[in-house]
């Protein structure tokens, strides 16, 4: 009996080692659909945005360019450059000839432009104290005046194909965030908001990669 | 265990030290060695010029004229530079091809060696597989060494007495300096080191030391640069002063050449020298660093164990690159696959070792073309490798990672394989009868056609993707230029590049209209392309070192795969490169080959045919080398010491040896002559050996067990002989050996009176008498060795049959069979399982008595204490590295290796049972067992160049060998110490 067990164990081990796989399961990163095929372009040119409103001390155009350029460079294999020619008016978005002229012969470029508004306001309200502060300050009043700093970034973004001057994509993004700190800096708040805009924009433009299982057949 | 008739181990080691062993090329005691086969029986001739004796065998008369003119031109040039004359003519030995050169009995030639000079007899050895201008430089280099030997030590033979030699850079640097030639490659090595701040430095002892790996010893290129520096700082006479100061160097002791000659300390010299080099290379600082192109793909020592990319080929998909690289961990050239995605090495196709070929052929010189090619269908990679006498083309199946085909190439030094677009043929270059041509190999018929058949030196062919044209380079005067020929008319040659500099390693773009190549017009070697229709010349890089083998990516023509020299090594890069139009070339068709300028030496000679003499062989004999001193220590604490001296003819074909060694006051002598001229080699010898062993007296009389120690029963055996041995190598690994001779034996206790008293003269197995014997043996060794650790993989064996001939009643009569078989299973990272089985049996009226035990044979036994007429032992050792190198207060030690071992033996003396005995009790009782052995562990390390073993062994007894698993341990672990090499 013992000898048989040994023989059976050997056979099972042999079969386990030698099982001929019919398939090999692989996790594959699949590209998702995107209306803009970024790979068709050699260059993305960020032009100045039309800025309707911005708080004092912050240059929204510069902030947008400084943030989006390196973020795009991480994802885009071609060049990302900045164009300093300011937009004169909203009409420019509807003028293909304007963009074709701005491209100056580089037909494989894509312009990233639009308009942006960055506002801030302070809102006050009578609010209940949070539970934690009751423990720390049990004798202080349970309701009191509280204020919030609210920042709103409104971006209307265009992706315009240089060759034709026509927009490939136009999207509006509006992001708002409130801060309990009354002295919240505008540039820091802008950074938080533009991050959200970028995430949504990139999901749209680059498509979200899907990681899925696929089965490769061996025979 | 000593061989019965063969040469004792100590003698063999002395033999190896003083000269190439008889028919044994790679001797690694205690091994039998591989075979260097004399395929040719060279019919040597000699011719005397003013300053040379030229030895040659080539039939073509222009060969002697070329060699003589090259040699005399070199002599005049070097004599002028050094203001010195040689008193004796220099023997220059010229081999027509490299594979002939390898058959030299005088020099140990390995791949990459172009020429040799030796200090004893001032001989030079060179071969002719190169263009004439390169031969000129080579002879100048080697002849400079002869001048150096002459300046330092005077006449031939005087170097025997010199025990210290000046640092290597002094020799090699001057030899490079006198050629007056800086190749692009050498300049690139210097530039790379300067710009990466890796300049070697002079140490306090005067050596030139680099802490970074370099493709070749810095003594050559940096030595050359040092002489340039000396000339600039101290003038041309500075070099002569340097060598004059060396002339009076002590025979023993340190030499500080710079201090002696210029009164400058090493650190001051280093400062000045580095400044000099940086100034010379300043203009290259603003050029491209190869690391700017992309990440380095593939070999990236020490991040992975692969160093240097000799050559590469891109797969048809473009995702993989095949590259030849040096595996530092295994001291071997490997073919690896590299991912172009992330540069990782994804597969080693030639993992481990093989006997299918001796070594893969590779080139340091990129002008010779890539060393491998990938078939258009993606299934095969081809490369040339050395096998036996010549080279063969090997086909590796990429899918299986195995060799699937081999085609022998009947020409010398084949290089630059290139598939035709359909994959039905391979183009390559090779030497045929002294000319370097382009050949086409048909893969279906295996027929080879010479496509060029001219006196031009063609290199690196590349076929256009449309299959119509062949691009290649030709050596024009002293530079390589690009040419283009239609494949259906190779006589039509259109020159594509002109002007200064070299243009090498062409590769077609997919369009068949552009050819990428490397060129050194800007001193550094850059990537260019030329359009074969418009002549438009574009430059793609402006690197500070060199970029080679540019190949467009198969799927993306804007990206180029190329090899760049960076930090002492070739590395592969993949980059998108923009071309800059530099020129528009006007091509020129070559009217006939004679119109191309060719190099001629400065001295012209007329050869007097009447003065050509056949070489007669043993006309004069010369000392072959300085007598070595060899030392071994056995596990009984005995020290073996010996030395040897040899004499040979000028070509090393005929050698006489005399060896002397001693142990425990017992002296041995050995005299032999060996004729190595032909494939069948023979060696008559005379010897008298006196050896010792320990008789296990208590075997015969157990009552002696407590009265005597085993060393009291030391016995000696004296063998005097006159015999002749013949060796016939079947191939590199296997050979037949035969021996016939007369042997006289004298054997007794070392202290015969006392031992006679104790044993009552009952031991009757001493051999005293004569024997006339004939033996045949077959020896094989495929074992691959690591320079530090010894054997790694393969097998070694020797099986012999010896018959004591019944000449008369008083002559010994026996038949003896012996076998020594070893097998090594390599696991990687210098770890292996080593197995050995040795067995012997002697039957007949006078069976031979063998002795063994101790050392690494049977560790639990005393040294040479097991006596038998039949027996065997088996060893198994698991060896693994512990430390590669360690700095200690004693200095650098390492490598250090660990081992687990097991051994077992059985032995039988004629007339006695095959038993071992264990004695116990006051009454000296004994129990018997069938087999004896041991197991244990130990470490091995090197100190002062000697392999030391410290081991802990526990004895094992087998009461009944038919029940092998029923084994007994005996006692504790005993400490053993011995010095010697592992089996």
């Amino acid at each position: 009996m013992r000898k048989n067990s040994l023989a059976v164990a050997s056979l099972l081990l042999f079969l386990a080692a030698c099982r001929s796989d019919v398939y090999r399961k692989l996790k594959v990163e699949l590209p998702a659909y995107s209306p803009v095929k970024l790979g068709d372009f050699l260059e993305v040119v960020i032009t100045p945005f039309l800025v309707a409103e911005q708080p004092q001390g912050i240059d929204v155009n510069k902030e947008i360019a400084d943030y989006l350029k390196p973020e795009l460079e991480k994802k885009f294999k071609g060049r990302v450059t900045l164009n300093q020619v300011p937009l004169e008016s909203e009409e420019a978005f509807k003028k293909p000839e304007y963009w074709r002229a701005l491209a100056a012969g580089s037909s494989k470029s894509l312009f990233l432009t639009g308009r942006a508004t960055f506002t801030q306001e302070t809102r006050k309200a009578i609010l209940a104290r949070p539970a934690r502060s009751l423990e720390e300050e049990p004798l202080s009043p349970q309701r009191g005046l509280d204020e919030r700093r609210i920042f709103t970034l409104d971006v209307s973004l265009y992706l315009i194909k240089a060759e034709t001057g026509e927009p490939l994509l136009q999207r509006d993004f509006k992001e708002t965030k409130s801060y309990t700190n009354p002295k919240q800096r505008a540039d820091f708040a802008f950074y938080d908001l533009i991050q959200r805009v970028k995430a949504k924009l990139f999901r749209l433009v680059l498509g979200q990669e899907l990681v899925q299982n696929r089965y490769l057949l061996t025979r | 265990m000593k061989n019965k008739w063969g040469i004792p181990a100590v003698v063999l080691s002395c033999l190896a030290l003083i000269s190439p062993s008889p028919a044994q090329e790679f001797f690694y005691y205690p091994y039998y060695g591989k075979n260097k086969i004399m395929y040719e029986d060279f019919q040597w001739k000699s011719y005397a010029t003013d300053h040379f004796h030229v030895y040659f065998y080539a039939e073509r008369p222009e060969v002697l004229k070329n060699v003589a003119e090259v040699a005399e031109s070199a002599y005049h040039k070097i004599s002028d530079i050094l203001k010195h004359q040689l008193t004796d003519p220099v023997p220059i030995i010229y081999y027509t091809t490299y594979t002939d050169f390898e058959q030299s009995n005088l020099f140990n030639i390995s791949e990459g060696v172009l020429g040799v000079s030796e200090p004893l007899l001032h001989r030079i050895g060179v071969h002719g597989d190169m263009p004439l201008d390169e031969l000129q430089s080579l002879v100048e280099h080697e002849l400079t060494h002869i001048f150096q030997f002459d300046i330092l030590w005077g006449r031939p033979g005087a170097s025997l007495y010199a025990l210290s030699t000046p640092p290597l850079w002094l020799f090699e640097g001057l030899s490079e300096y006198t050629t007056g030639r800086w190749t692009s490659w050498s300049q690139m090595l210097i530039r790379d080191a300067v710009l990466n701040d890796r300049i070697p430095e002079i140490t306090d002892s005067g050596d030139l030391y680099s802490r970074y790996p370099m493709p070749r010893d810095p003594a050559y290129d940096f030595g050359h640069a040092i002489y340039d520096f000396i000339e600039e700082k101290y003038g041309h006479n500075g070099i002569k002063e340097l060598w004059q100061s060396l002339k009076n160097s002590p025979l023993i002791g340190r030499i500080a050449p710079l201090k002696k000659a210029f009164n400058i300390k090493p650190h001051e010299f280093n400062y000045e020298f580095k400044k000099f080099l940086r100034e010379k290379n300043r203009k290259f600082l603003i050029r491209e660093n190869p690391e700017d192109y992309s990440i380095a793909l593939g070999p990236k020592f020490p991040q992975n164990p692969y160093y240097f990319t000799f050559s590469h080929a891109v797969s048809p998909s473009g995702d993989l690159i095949a590259a030849l690289t040096y595996n530092v961990a295994e001291y071997d050239i490997d073919l690896v696959l590299i991912s172009t995605k992330d540069g990782s090495i994804v597969k080693n196709i030639t993992r481990g070792f093989t006997t299918d070929y001796d070594y893969i052929k590779y080139e340091y010189d990129p002008s010779q073309g890539a060393s491998l090619a990938w078939s258009p269908d993606g299934d095969t990679i081809v490369f040339f490798a050395r096998h036996e006498r010549r080279y063969s083309l090997y086909f590796v199946d990429v899918l299986r990672g195995k060799l699937v085909r081999k085609i022998n190439i009947p020409y010398d030094r084949p290089a630059a394989p290139c598939f035709s677009p359909g994959g039905k043929a391979i183009y390559f270059t090779a030497f045929a009868k002294g000319w370097h041509d382009i050949f086409r190999l048909d893969l279906e018929t295996e027929g080879i056609d010479n496509l060029t058949q001219d006196s031009l030196f063609e290199k690196a062919p590349a076929v256009s993707p449309d299959g119509r044209y062949l691009a290649y380079s030709i050596r024009v005067d002293a530079a390589d230029k690009l040419f283009l020929s239609p494949l259906d008319n190779m006589k039509q040659k259109t020159q594509l590049t002109f002007g200064q500099g070299n243009t090498i390693c062409p590769a077609f773009a997919a369009s068949s209209k552009d050819i990428f190549f490397s060129g050194d017009a800007r001193e550094a070697i850059n990537i260019y392309s030329i359009n074969v229709e418009t002549g438009e010349l574009k430059r793609f890089t402006d690197v500070w070192t060199g970029n080679f083998y540019p190949v467009p990516h198969p799927r993306d023509p804007n990206r180029i795969v190329f090899s760049a020299f960076n930090k002492g090594s070739y590395q592969i890069f993949l980059a998108e490169l923009k071309g800059l139009v530099e020129d528009r070339m006007a091509f020129a068709e070559l009217p006939k080959e004679e119109s191309l300028p060719g190099f001629r030496p400065s001295v012209s000679l007329d050869i007097n045919q009447d003065k050509i003499e056949p070489y007669k062989g043993m006309q004069s004999l010369y000392v072959s080398g300085r007598p070595p001193v060899d030392v071994l220590v056995s596990s009984d604490g005995s020290v073996f010491g010996g030395t040897a001296i040899s004499f040979g003819d000028i070509l090393g074909d005929h050698n006489f040896y005399a060896m002397f060694f001693q142990s425990r006051g017992l002296r041995s002598y050995y005299f032999a002559y060996i004729n190595q001229k032909k494939r069948l080699q023979f060696m008559p010898s005379l010897f008298e050996y006196t050896l010792y062993y320990y008789l296990p007296y208590s075997y015969f009389d157990s009552s002696l067990y407590y009265s005597l120690s085993y060393q009291d029963a030391i016995a000696y055996r004296k063998i005097s002989s006159a015999n002749i041995t013949a060796f016939y190598p079947l191939n590199r690994y296997y050979r037949l050996e035969g021996n016939f001779g007369f042997y006289r034996y004298e054997e007794n206790f070392a202290n015969p009176y006392s031992m006679g008293m104790y044993t009552g003269n009952r031991y009757g197995y001493f051999w005293n008498g004569n024997a006339l014997s004939l033996s045949l043996a077959i020896t094989g060794e495929t074992t691959h060795f690591n320079p530090y650790f010894g054997p790694l993989a393969g097998h070694t064996f020797r099986i012999s049959l010896t018959q004591g001939l019944p000449v008369s009643e008083s002559f010994f009569r026996n038949t003896t069979v012996q076998a020594d078989m070893r097998k090594y299973f390599y696991f990687g990272a210098a770890s292996l399982l080593a197995l050995r089985f040795e067995g012997w049996a002697s039957r007949g009226r006078d069976p031979y008595v063998f002795y063994h035990g101790g050392n690494n044979q049977v560790r639990s036994s005393y040294y040479y204490n097991i006596v038998s007429t039949e027996g065997w032992f088996f060893n198994a050792e698991l060896r693994f590295p512990l430390v590669n190198a360690a700095s200690t207060i004693l200095g650098q030690i390492g490598p250090v290796r660990g081992a687990l071992f097991f051994d077992i033996t059985r032995a039988k003396l004629d007339g006695y049972p095959a038993k071992f005995y264990e004695y116990y009790g006051p009454g000296v009782s004994r129990r018997s067992f069938d087999a004896l052995g041991s197991y244990g562990y130990g470490i091995q390390f090197f100190l002062f160049g000697l392999p030391l073993h410290i081991e802990f062994a526990k004895r094992l007894n087998w009461p009944d060998i038919s029940r092998p698993l029923d084994v007994q341990g005996y006692g504790g672990f005993e400490t053993k110490f011995w010095i010697g090499f592992d089996f």
């Binding site: 990163e29 659909y33 | 995702d319 995605k341």
Partner: protein, 128 residues
């Protein structure tokens, strides 16, 4: 008295059996080499090998299926669909192939919906 137990030897034998057993497996071919390349993320090489496999054996289900996966990876949806359809014709009941194709279809439908949504939103923006 020490004894060397047979169990140790048996264990050594079983381990060596495990290690060496798979040398009896079929030898590598274009399909398996392509799989190896895909596992190394070398998809161009994988496509090259599976195309070779199809050229050698046009009825190779494995080659067509694997090519389809590779085309999916490269974003070449039409080519992927074509290969899946060929593979399904050859082996309609192959569960791994069907699983791949199902996932492929779901992705496409999601993409089609996204394209539709994109188109509608673009039209809405135009009207604005």
């Amino acid at each position: 008295m020490n004894r060397i137990l047979p169990k140790g030897i048996t264990a050594a034998f079983l381990v060596s059996l495990l290690l060496t057993a798979c040398s009896f497996l079929p030898k590598p071919d274009q399909v398996s080499f392509g799989i190896w390349a895909a596992e190394q993320d070398l998809w161009d090489e994988a496509i090259f090998r599976w195309k070779r496999a199809v050229a050698l054996d046009p009825n190779s289900v494995a080659a067509h299926n694997n090519l389809a996966v590779a085309y999916e990876k490269k974003g070449l949806w039409e080519e992927a669909r074509r290969e899946y359809e060929i593979a399904l014709k050859l082996a309609p009941e192959n569960r791994w192939l069907k699983a791949n194709y199902q996932s492929f279809k779901e992705n496409l439908e999601a993409s089609d919906k996204a394209k539709e949504k994109e188109k509608k939103e673009a039209e809405k923006d135009e009207k604005k």
